[in-house]
């Protein structure tokens, strides 16, 4: 049995999944597990059933069963992707994809901000972690992937999200949670948000040089020792642009061994499995398929 098969066995046993073994079942890990299991032709209906049960009347989904911070529905995009991957009629309950997509389309980061007016220089709108707060990189990338996969790649919200993500790329490449220059000082990039942003920007028409620099940043900063979540997102970011490194699967296997030696967290297992699929992973093929269906080719890059 290969390491990924062993991983999937462990993952399937934890559905619905959490971030840590003793933590609560949570939307993001469960959705990612559904994606990983379905990509391996393994049953994922239990995960979809759980997500469907959490879905709120407006179509959104919160992080856990009990956490109901108003508007903290950033995992909604992951649930959309999982439901699209697993397919309709696969479980006892249906996750309402159109309603969830409509929520994403209707909900955006607050461009006005509740902070010092003089500090705002950009009104580009993406998605927020919590409704009514500012747009940040990762929720924007998650929802952009979902919109593309659901056939909304050309929708203005997706275009705005693309513009916002590119705006948040650092001049030298890469991005962080979503600030670039603060009080005159350029901030540092991080692997995980850069990877997610690159996944979301795959196949888009922009030729902004920062995209290529961001890919270079990932290539230079992904190592065998890179921690699991960052490694997985970084590799998926590269895979989305056909730059999956030759050692990538070896690094993922090593990360898997480290993960099971510590806590075997389902969240990390799901990410590692998805990354191991390289360019065939559902987080790359689902958004790309919808773009292709609408006749939008990959843009020129330098």
């Amino acid at each position: 049995m290969g390491w990924n098969d062993e991983l999937l066995d462990r993952l399937a046993a934890q559905v619905p999944c959490g971030y840590h073994p003793n933590g609560p079942a949570s939307s993001e890990p469960t959705a990612l597990a559904a994606l990983a299991l379905s990509a391996a032709n393994r049953p994922a209906t239990a995960a979809i059933d759980w997500l469907a049960a959490l879905q709120q009347p407006d179509g959104s989904i919160g992080p856990t069963e009990t956490q109901s911070q108003p508007g903290a529905c950033w995992p909604t995009g992951w649930a959309v992707l999982a439901a699209l991957a697993v397919g309709r009629g696969a479980g006892r309950r249906e996750f309402d994809v159109p309603r969830a997509v409509n929520w994403i389309l209707q909900t955006a980061g607050d461009p006005t901000a509740g902070i010092d007016e003089s500090l705002k220089t950009s009104t580009l709108v993406g998605s927020a972690w919590v409704t009514g707060t500012y747009s940040w990189v990762e929720p924007t990338a998650i929802h952009m992937l979902a919109l593309k996969a659901a056939g909304f790649g050309s929708h203005p919200r997706t275009r705005h999200a693309e513009a916002m993500l590119i705006d948040r790329l650092l001049a030298g490449g890469g991005c962080n949670y979503g600030n670039t220059v603060v009080l005159g000082q350029e901030l540092r990039p991080h692997v995980q948000p850069t990877g997610l942003a690159m996944m979301a920007l795959a196949g888009q028409a922009s030729s902004d040089r920062r995209i290529a620099r961001s890919l270079d940043y990932l290539t230079a900063n992904l190592l065998a020792e890179t921690t699991s979540a960052s490694l997985a997102y970084g590799l998926m970011g590269l895979a989305a642009h056909d730059r999956f490194p030759a050692d990538g699967r070896n690094w993922l296997q090593a990360a898997y061994r480290r993960t099971i030696s510590r806590d075997g967290a389902a969240y990390k297992l799901a990410l590692l499995s998805l990354a191991a699929l390289g360019t065939n992973g559902p987080l790359i093929t689902l958004p790309a398929r919808q773009i292709g269906a609408r006749g939008e080719g990959r843009g020129a890059r330098d």
């Binding site: 971030y19 911070q69 500090l119 220089t121 707060t133 603060v182 009080l183 890179t226």
Partner: protein
Amino acid sequence: MTNKAQFPVADSRIAASNSPNKFDRRALLVGGGTVLAGLCAYPMIRRLFGPKASVFIARGQRYDGPLEQTIRDGLLASGVLPDAMKGKRVLLKPNLVEPSRKVPQMTTNPAMLLAAAEVFRKWGASVVVGEGPGHVRDTEMAVVESGVQAALDAAGLEFADLNYEEVVWVPNKGGVSSLKGFYFPRSIAEADLVVSMPKLKTHHWVGFTASMKNLYGTLPGIAYGWPKNVLHYAGIPQTVFDINATLTKTVAIVDGIVCMEGDGPIMGSPKRLGLVLVGGNLTAMDATVARIMGLEPDRVSYLSLAADRLGPIADGRIEQRGEAWRPLVSPFKILNVPHLRDLTNDPGVLISHACRPSSLSVHGVA
């Protein structure tokens, strides 16, 4: 989920519990149990009769020095009763906001955590290290990059990822911000004592960050975001106040050995002070830290709010244990921006970044 904060500290909080509009910190329950009334509504009475608080300062400290002894001395000087720690659950809360091996001045040094853990363990407490990094979602990366993981492994200490745990909603005891309450992670709710262990740094929005602002990291990112924008929207000084008013089973152990000045809390430069500070009242602690940094405590927004409500900031009402603070003053460089200039009486410490032609591109607060 109830956890009575039975942390008998022989200090001024006992006096506070006898004041009008009682706020009995010993009985504060973070979780589903009894949650008592809010703050004292008579600041003038507190100013006249209010209790003193103590801050212990040790100088000449090194990360490879006898930190365990220093921290033990500090906790004893702050009124901690070792016998009372037996069987208690202690959570050490460092600042790991956005670790990088190249920037050790940004995060709490692991040596501080190990030393504090040993003190409490030898007193019979169970100890866990917990943090909810505010800028990075990959907590494993933060713990590894900061060097904390290696230290935890060597000492057999567990880590609680505060960003992703089961949460408990607790009403806001401060009432200054618009937030009705807070989601605290299970590890915070179940701890008998939360030890705020910040890195002493400047902060480009509020002036500096120490033991009070460090408690931002007790709130989970899955509820508040990365950064915890919900708190910024409700006002940084206001939410610092409210979190500290709500989570009161705290003491502070400040890493002031190698600090950060300039454009803190992320992009500043190292500044060696060689200090370790310990105290049972976080407001008094931060006021003392501000003075050492060359800042005026009453001009720092969240300290001004907290003054005489969460603790004293007036020098005359803070007992100095160990070293006196005046000889230790070493003014920190701070950014020359309008909202920070007035925090210091010394314009010589104001520094500027070279601005980019595209001007300031700030997308929200962090």
